[in-house]
Amino acid sequence: MTARLERSTFRAVGTMCEAAVTAGPNDGRFARLALASARAEVAACEAALSRFDAASDLSRLNAAGGEWTAVDRRLVEALRLALRAREDTDGRFDPTVLPALVAAGYDRSFEQLAERPARRAAGWRAGAAVEIEDEAGLVRLLEPGAAVDLGGIGKGYAASQALDAMHDAWPMLPGGLVDLGGDLALRGDTPEHGPWRIRIADPRRPGATAGVLVLDSGGVATSGRDVRRFGPGGSLHHLIDPETGAPAEAGPLTVTVVAPDAAEAEAHATALGISPPADAAAHVAAHPRISALYIPHEGAALPLGALPLAQRRIVVRAA
């Protein structure tokens, strides 16, 4: 018998998730252990990072009114990554957009959203300061009314953590993949002893493929305004432009980012999701660690950077 991909599918972080490991014929017990570890780690990340759970560490921080709050180390790590990503993206990704997001109408988990007109958060401004005491595991928000949302980085962080958890549970793990609603972390060998092949769904043609990525390791994330729409007639989306505090007007239908880490991929995907094509191209050129496939509402998809696409598209005629 040859190696196979053992999979576990589950619902978490508001979406469908999957963990998968490359397993030999006698690895069944190790595979089940690794998959269970991934699932437990995703649950732990959700308990720490979700803003839709009033008991989560993030909700307690947001409700603390600027007081120091003891939080899980996962929230400390995710906040550190998010604040670094805010610097890397010149503020296009900002974890403190929550007041603007809530004012726009995205104030409960997506399935429970009511249709109501958008408002703008009074007096809100981007770039709120967050203070972190790493060793003590303490965090506080320094500005009145500030609140954090890790929706633009949390799934990527959780995917990376779950992949690490699988390796901790099965140190000889040949290879594995964690997919949290389209944000993926992957590493090691596939059952075919080759690279991982990740399909990029085409948002303009349901069921079709916009490209196939070929990766040995790293993270992949897609951000877009093709599905998470709300408000009157689905006229609003969840990608807030930190400059205006409202759902962004510029930007692609979807953008897929490849990076060494899934959290990094997701943060950059969120930033590129509100960027016009020229800005997106400049952003990727300035960040050689990432590459992207930018799919506008109309016209050709734009591969940006050294995108590891499997399929070759040949233009045979231009009219």
Binding site: D179, G182, R199, A201, V220, S223, G234, R313, I314, A318
Partner: protein
């Protein structure tokens, strides 16, 4: 007798030539099914239409899919 030997030699020479040709010329690889290729008409950046062919065989089995998180609308 000389004519017999000449005929035998020429037959052997012809067989040798055929054998060499058979050895050096491999049969052509089977052509992949045209149905495997994807032809797309897409609009270029300047509005021009482009006919794009996605190479056959490039869309093999995949291990995962990335897309915007699917949620209930």
């Amino acid at each position: 007798m000389q004519r017999v030997w000449a005929v035998v030699l020429s037959v052997w020479a012809m067989l040798a030539i055929v054998a060499v040709l058979a050895w050096t010329h491999h049969p052509p690889a089977p052509v992949s099914s045209p149905a495997a290729a994807q032809t797309l008409v897409v609009k270029g950046a300047n509005g021009k239409q482009q006919l794009v062919v996605v190479q056959p065989g490039a869309l093999g089995a995949t291990h995962g899919t990335t897309s915007t998180s699917g949620v209930v609308r």
